[in-house]
Amino acid sequence: MYDFAYHKPASVADAVKLLAADPDAKPISGGHTLLPALKHRLNKPSALVDLSGIAEMKGIRREGNSLIIGALTKHVEVAKSDVVKAAIPALAYMASHIGDNQVRNRGTIGGSVSNNDPAADYPAAVLGLGATIHTSKRKIAADDFFQGMFTTALEEGEILVAIEFPIPEKAGYAKLKNPASRYVMAGAFISKGPAGLRVAINGAGPCVFRQSDMEAALGRNWSADAVAGVKQSADGLNSDIHGSAEYRAHLVTVMAKRAVAAAG
């Protein structure tokens, strides 16, 4: 780890000010992605702006037909929340299957979504539910938020404050884990509700994406069999020592089938 300054602001406004004042400063939430990167000296921020003391970024609440989850909410809190379990059980299920106990007790939804790791879980829920990202300066639709591998619509110094999920009629999630890292090899989050019928695929490609052929098939016939017939093209999918693009493409269909089955 290289040396860095440390700040712990108490409000989003103060955090934004600190980040604006120093372009090489970085926000930190649970630190479960950033700290390993710092330890490996892959990242050299001049300062860390620790968001964990900001009350307005915490908490889970239901507002009408929406579920609003503060960016600092830990995976374990989402997994155990009665509010989440009642509104979007698939989201609680997803959170309960991220990483291991230590990860779930430190990692945050805001950190995960801002980071947009192609093999992360949450981006699939955000895209698959058509959520809205609340930042320190605007609201961004999920469809506009995820832009590529580790890239989002967040601008320099912009902070993700909360995520607003429309409550679906049904939703389901399934993934196959990478045997080594236990991140996602391929996963599918599928929902039907106010944001339409959505199939979001994570793990398989460089960035979470919507599978429109599957969405169309489900629109005609909401069943696992309907997606079973849809083949994902291997073009542009990830290929590494853990699986070829072709294997991942195949998994997309399998996981989609399972996600539909889980959604009921």
Partner: protein, 790 residues
């Protein structure tokens, strides 16, 4: 008072004495040791697999805060390279190629992770900061990483003076007899396979602390080692030229080794040398990333084998050609692994009359490869046990019957194999029968059918294996090229009030020696294990020793203790005879009590030890005071544990994922001292074997970059990857050591991989697949089921 209740001797599952310390975080590991005034070392390592070093500019780094010193190979001109402890001879009798293994790279780097320079600074972070400021001018050169590519005519050379990258071309067995057997055979079966490279990944990364006493000139090295005396010998004599009397090597608690901590590593020499040069202690601790690119790797064989059978399935001959990857340099014991620990095991449990094996060892631009849990025997076992299954399938024999047909008969011991070894004892029929019964082999087809209804392909696989351990008879290994003896030392010190300190040259790094060895003393001398202290891992305390590997600690180290206890009893009987005014011939000893035969006259061990140290009423003219004895034990032969492993797996058809559902191990490890520890050792070994079969692979790309250089990409087995492992033993005694023990540390890792792969292939029997290479990952299996290339 020495009272042994309840029974704590041989055969008792007493809880491990060391676990309170380990489970409560109070172990004392090398990294827990900090010396006054200690500085910290960081090693600059190569990011290239092969490059010429045109220049190293350390000026900017030397000016960085906290930097004490920076050394490169230019500073180490006076010290030797890292020695290799085993010399193999080629078919033509010439010695193997043995290129220099410099402590820091000299002119060239030869693998990713090859150490180039060391920075010593006040803190580890400062040392690392400065290391990043060192400018190395590399001329990047083409590299070769794959075992079979190394011998190609146009392959880049790893060492300029080693033509064709060939370290040695060795053979064993009778080629003519094998050719004749093949000529006469009804069936000839060919099998080709790769035994993939593994990274041992002990939980504790390596660490070394060098210290130097400027007043006495004594060097001390604290290090994560399985054999501190061997390190003292190798480093003192060959690298740094420090006399033994001035070099102390301490290996305190060590968090797992699996072989990777046997060898003498550059960092040990660096901190020892630098501490003396600087007059202050120097510490180096690896992080996990460094461990991946600097700990010796394991396995990495590519093999073609042929088996000749007669019409009924009797094995007539076996022919094997193996290419073994040594990595960029020869690690301490590397050359003996694919030869004397591998090819000599190719008879396995079978009475194959003719065997011929050739082994070509090659250099590549990769981390050196050396012994890893099992060392050669897992490679041999995997080859044989897959080959037997392939033969059964190709020739239409039942795989269990084919094995049974070829087993060495239980009354054939001692059995001389065609590949040098002489097995002393074994009973492969009983371990097989017991395992088949425990695993309900007969009822398997019903389980297969039931699984199929759940969309799962279920398979069962068997491995009947044997290994050679209890390493090793010194004269034998000496004649085969070992540059060391492989005896062990035991000292039994009975204190005045009857408690006992045992000094042993074996080293415990997870094996539970503090308990097992204490049980030997409890059993023989009648001293409760709470009053027995086992001391190991410090050359200043223990007279000598060869350490722990090759499942030798009990068979060799325990036997040394047993011999030392014999000497204690002999002397104590003479003292007791004096105390009881009897003749020594009439004194009997059993578990702590001396008795004049046929009388009720007794003395306890404590009475005797007290007399020995307070010799008021003592035959001082005939017997020296004190009660302490030393024994060196050199084994007469290897020991030969064996047994039967049965694995049961299920494959998810949609994804190709394999789940272990059952694992049965019935092992003959000789006499069992502590059944609970044996069970734990076997389970741990099986976990590593399942890891190799299904999960682990050290992958280099063509250019020698390490693709699986972290836990993100190297799949270590986790609890949920394993199945319940049922462990049982069936004992035949070792005939040549006093305890009748054989060894249990490696059997799990040796017997299990082929059982698992045989089960996977069995599960896929409807897909026309004859073999699947390890690790049997989901994508590989999916491609078989779906007829795709991966």
């Amino acid at each position: 008072m020495n009272v042994v209740t309840p029974f704590e001797g041989i055969g008792a599952s007493v809880r491990r004495k060391e676990d309170v310390r380990f489970l409560s975080g109070r172990g004392q590991y090398t990294d827990d040791i900090n010396r006054p005034g200690q500085a910290h070392a960081w090693i600059l390592r190569s990011q290239h697999a092969h490059a010429r070093i045109q220049g190293i500019d350390t000026a900017a780094a030397a000016a960085m805060p906290g930097v004490v010193a920076i050394y490169t190979s230019a500073d180490l001109a006076a010290i030797g390279g890292l020695p290799c402890g085993w010399q193999i001879h080629n078919k033509d009798g010439s010695p193997m190629a043995e290129p220099k293994h410099p402590v820091l790279a000299e002119g060239k780097v030869r693998h990713v992770g090859d150490p180039i320079a060391v920075v010593i600074a006040e803190t580890r972070a400062q040392a690392r900061d400065a290391a990043e400021a060192i400018i190395v001018d590399f001329e990047v050169l083409p590299a070769v990483s794959q075992t079979t590519a190394a011998l190609a005519a146009d392959a880049p050379r790893v060492h300029d003076d080693v033509a064709g990258n060939l370290c040695y071309d060795w053979h064993i067995g009778d080629k003519g007899a094998v050719d004749a057997a093949f000529a006469a055979a009804a069936h000839r079966v060919v099998f080709e396979t790769t035994n993939q490279r593994l990274v041992p990944n002990a939980m504790e990364p390596r660490c070394a602390v060098g210290d130097y006493d400027t007043t006495t000139g004594e060097h001390t090295l604290f290090t994560t080692s399985q054999n501190p005396h061997v390190i003292r010998l190798l480093m003192g004599a060959f690298v740094l030229q420090i006399p033994e009397a001035k070099l102390r090597v301490v290996a305190p608690d060590v968090g797992g080794g699996f072989g990777s901590k046997i060898y003498h590593y550059a960092e040990e020499a660096i901190v020892t040398w630098a501490a003396a040069k600087l007059g202050r202690a120097v510490k180096w601790t690896a992080d996990r990333t460094e461990a991946f690119m600097s700990d010796a790797h394991g396995r990495d064989h590519v093999t073609r084998a042929e088996l000749a059978l007669d019409k009924e399935g009797t094995f007539l001959g076996l022919r094997v050609l193996t290419h073994a990857n040594m990595g960029a340099y020869l690690s301490t014991f590397a050359p003996c692994v694919p030869t004397y620990l591998y090819a000599t095991l190719l008879a396995g449990v079978y009475s194959t009359p003719a065997i011929y094996a050739e082994v070509k060892a090659v250099f590549t631009h990769t981390v050196p490869v050396d012994a890893y849990r099992g060392a050669g025997r897992p490679e041999a076992t995997y080859l044989l046990e897959r080959l037997v299954d392939v033969a059964a399938k190709q020739c239409g024999f039942d795989r269990v019957k084919l094995r049974r047909r070829n087993f060495i008969a239980t009354d054939a011991f001692p059995y001389q194999t065609p590949v040098a070894l002489q097995y002393d004892s074994g009973d492969y029929f009983s371990t097989l029968d017991q395992a088949l019964k425990t695993a309900d082999w007969a009822g398997f087809e019903a389980r297969r059918a039931e699984a199929r209804m759940r969309g799962k392909l279920r398979g069962i696989g068997i491995s009947t294996y044997l290994e050679a351990c209890g390493i090793a008879p010194s004269a034998v290994v000496g004649s085969l090229g070992a540059r060391a003896g492989l005896y062990e030392v035991g000292v039994i010190r009975v204190h005045p009030t009857g408690s006992v300190t045992v000094l042993t040259g074996a080293h415990s790094h997870g094996q539970g020696h503090e308990t097992t060895f204490a049980q030997l003393v409890a059993d023989k001398l009648g001293v409760p294990i709470a009053n027995v202290d086992i001391v190991h891992g410090d050359t200043a305390k223990v007279p000598f020793g060869m350490g722990t590997y090759g499942s030798r600690s009990l068979a060799v180290g325990g036997s040394a203790m047993d011999k030392a206890m014999d000497k204690i009893i002999a002397k104590a009987k003479r003292i007791a005879a004096h105390l009881m005014e009897a003749s020594v011939e009439d004194v009997e000893f059993e578990r702590g009590t001396f008795r004049v035969a046929g009388t009720d006259k007794t003395k306890t061990l404590t009475d005797v030890s007290l007399a020995a140290y307070v010799p008021h009423n003592y035959p001082i003219d005939e017997i020296e005071p004190g009660l302490e004895e030393t024994a060196f034990y050199d084994p007469k032969n290897f020991t030969y544990p064996g047994g039967c492993h049965i694995a049961e797996v299920e494959i998810e058809m949609e994804t190709g994922r394999v789940s272990m559902v059952n694992f049965t191990a019935v092992d003959d490890v000789g006499r069992v001292i502590n059944p609970m520890i044996v069970e734990g050792q076997v389970q741990g070994g099986v976990a590593q074997g399942i890891g190799q079969a299904l999960l682990e692979a050290c992958v280099y790309d063509q250019d020698g970059q390490l693709m699986s250089g972290s836990m993100m990409d190297y799949t270590m087995p986790r609890a949920d990857d394993l199945a319940p492992v049922s462990v049982a033993t069936h004992t035949t005694l070792c005939t040549h050591n006093p305890l009748g023990v054989k060894g249990c540390g490696e059997v799990g890792a040796i017997g299990s991989p082929p059982a698992v792969i045989n089960a996977v292939v069995d599960a896929l029997r409807d897909y026309g697949v004859e073999h699947i290479e390890m690790p049997a990952t989901a994508p590989k299996i999916w491609s078989i089921i779906h007829g795709k290339s991966v």
